[in-house]
């Protein structure tokens, strides 16, 4: 992309109407790079999947057959259920652990504050492919360290939970929580650091201390951060792919299938662009609907900022 070329144009330039028109028109160059990127690599692909999902390979005109094929496929319902479980568990758990850690770091540490903030965030910056292989090793029977330590609390497994159809999805969820709790922590740190001290002091004067201060003053005041995390959590859940692809490939026998792995299988392994497209459209509509509901009904924001989103 070229940098916008804008020599000589002025903001709402004074001078003749013609100059002002040219000036403001040239100013659109500022918006152009972002717009071109969006049209080519987001809008066009979306239109492409919609088109592809409606056009059978044999060229027999428009058809909804791919959608009925998806909806009658039991794997789709497994994936939908897994995504629901994923969101319902990971989002609140990451919020709770991340929020508690953030609260104690911000309110009770001074010298080591930067150290704790950084260390708890490291899993977020660790490449997911590394995370996947390390956790496969942790879960492994005989030589995996996870199973070894679970024995101390009386849990004996004979196989890797990743190979068990009833446990695979939960084993993956644990990894997701481990990796992303640091993100929730950081969002809450931003919220806590910006809490008005006068309100906290006033609450303390009124006798709210310790747990009561946290429960009745801090948590309600962190509602904007919580709403952002809920929105980002839902979107993140629907984005889930690498961790599952790398650790179970959606198995065993589709037990841990998520939308990402299902789309990948249909589109790239089975080369069924029509079904893959229909699936993509369904996930896209789901993501848009869930986001818009949160934005307009709950006033959630996409980013931890003061601006509208």
């Amino acid at each position: 992309m070229n940098a916008p070329r804008l020599g000589g144009t002025t903001i709402g330039a004074s001078g003749g109407t013609r100059r002002r028109f040219l000036g403001s028109f040239a100013n659109y160059a500022f918006a152009l790079p972002a717009l071109v990127l969006f049209l080519m690599f987001v809008a066009y692909p979306i239109l492409w999947v919609i088109d592809e999902s409606l056009n059978p390979a044999d060229g027999a005109g428009l058809s909804m057959s791919a959608y009925s094929a998806v909806l009658s496929d039991s794997v789709f319902w497994t994936a939908l259920w897994n995504m629901t479980v994923w969101g319902v568990i990971t989002i609140p758990v990451q919020m709770a652990i991340g929020g508690l850690i953030a609260y104690f770091i911000e309110r009770h540490t001074f010298v080591l504050r930067g150290f704790f903030r950084t260390m708890f965030f490291l899993p977020v910056v660790t490449s997911v492919s590394v995370v996947a292989i390390v956790w496969v090793q942790i879960y492994a029977p005989y030589y995996g360290v996870g199973q070894e330590y679970l024995k101390y609390i009386g849990v004996h497994l004979s196989n890797s939970p990743l190979g068990d159809p009833h446990m695979a999805i939960y084993a993956l969820i644990v990894v997701n929580i481990w990796q992303w709790t640091g993100f929730s922590m950081l969002m809450y740190i931003a919220g806590i650091a910006n809490l008005p001290t006068e309100v906290l002091d006033a609450a303390k004067v009124d006798g709210a201390t310790g747990w009561r201060l946290g429960l009745h003053v801090v948590i309600p005041m962190l509602a904007p951060a919580t709403r952002s995390l809920l929105l980002l959590g839902v979107l993140g859940t629907l984005q889930t792919f690498p961790i599952v692809q790398l650790m179970t490939v959606g198995g065993p026998n589709h037990a841990s299938e998520v939308f990402g792995t299902f789309i990948f299988k249909e589109s790239f392994i089975l080369n069924d662009a029509q079904k893959g497209g229909a699936l993509s459209v369904i996930v896209l509509v789901l993501a848009l609907a869930l986001s818009l509901i949160q934005i307009f009904v709950f006033g959630a924001r996409l980013a931890p900022t003061k601006g509208e989103a």
């Binding site: 916008p4 804008l6 020599g7 903001i11 709402g12 100013n27 500022f30 918006a31 972002a34 990127l37 969006f38 080519m40 690599f41 987001v42 066009y44 692909p45 492409w48 999947v49 104690f104 009770h108 540490t109 930067g114 903030r117 950084t118 708890f120 965030f121 490291l122 899993p123 910056v125 660790t126 490449s127 997911v128 492919s129 590394v130 996947a132 360290v145 070894e148 481990w178 950081l186 740190i189 931003a190 919220g191 650091a193 910006n194 008005p196 904007p224 984005q239 792919f241 790398l246 990402g260 789309i263 990948f264 790239f268 996930v283 993501a287 986001s291 980013a303 003061k306 601006g307 509208e308």
Partner: protein
């Protein structure tokens, strides 16, 4: 509880939780430091340690080249995202060009698009442009997917800036570009830093597109090589985990270096209740 005692208990608790949280990373490094005889021991840390795995994998694999691939793709993406997002936010928030607010809302839908649902057309598009196994095949899609988040952050920042600054620039005869370059960009610097670092993390670790676009071994990025090595070094976990450590290390080190700027950027623009 007395304040000093409670501070001690809280620090202790944080260290205990942290120890659990760091266990997977410790385990990773520790397996990389093992001799073949200890490689399959079900223990977090074993003695004695050896660096021979690291020497072996660095000698036998083009990790430098792969690191360079990641660096080129990521750095270019970051530059494009920062430039395009700040320019758009400027057009929308400062110049207030007609139609840009509607465009802003449209661009935001990008944040709601799961990559999985557009990865197939992106693959087709990249093939059409002849960008398979080329840096461009990752740079442009990453930039397109990253720009909207940058716009959200930077626009909020600019919306919050004192309007008089921009009015004064206009009165003084600054061109739009001069205003953007000399006033808007320095003003939003903490936010720019935040956006750049976050984009760096996201692009560096992106997996789905990289898996599809990069098939030639010498073009691969750090994120996708652990997969191929997990097969190659199946019987030699020491070597595999040495590679994993080397793959994870650059971004961890970078984050430690820039974390202060990253958190400050987040704090300066963050939720105020």
């Amino acid at each position: 509880m007395r304040p000093r005692l409670s501070a001690f208990v809280i620090h202790l608790a944080l260290f205990v939780v942290l120890a659990f949280w760091m266990a997977p990373q410790v385990y990773m490094v520790s397996i990389g430091l093992r001799t073949p005889a200890q490689a399959f021991d079900a223990q977090l840390v074993t003695w004695p340690m050896t660096l021979s795995n690291f020497a072996t994998v660095l000698r036998d694999n083009p990790l430098g080249r792969i690191f360079l691939n990641s660096l080129i793709v990521t750095a270019t993406t970051v530059v494009i995202v920062v430039a395009a997002a700040s320019a758009f936010a400027f057009a929308c928030s400062v110049l207030r060009l007609r139609g840009t607010l509607a465009l802003y809302t449209t661009l935001l839908t990008t944040l709601m698009v799961p990559i999985a649902s557009i990865v197939l057309p992106l693959a087709v598009l990249i093939k059409h442009f002849g960008w398979v196994n080329s840096y461009l095949g990752l740079i442009f899609p990453y930039a397109a997917l990253g720009v909207p988040f940058g716009i959200v952050i930077l626009k909020a920042f600019l919306d919050d800036s004192p309007r008089e600054l921009f009015d004064a620039a206009r009165v003084d005869g600054c061109s739009a570009f001069q205003t953007y370059w000399h006033i808007a960009l320095p003003l939003v610097r903490p936010a720019l830093t935040f956006v750049a670092i976050w984009q760096f993390i996201v692009s560096w670790n992106e997996f789905f597109l990289a898996l599809i676009v990069l098939t030639e071994p010498e073009m691969k990025t750090l994120t996708i090589v652990p997969m191929q090595y997990s097969g190659l070094y199946m019987a030699n976990p020491g070597a595999l985990f040495a590679i994993l450590t080397l793959v994870a290390l650059p971004l961890i080190l970078l984050y430690v270096l820039v974390q202060r700027a990253f958190v400050n950027g987040l704090l300066s623009g963050a939720v105020k209740g």
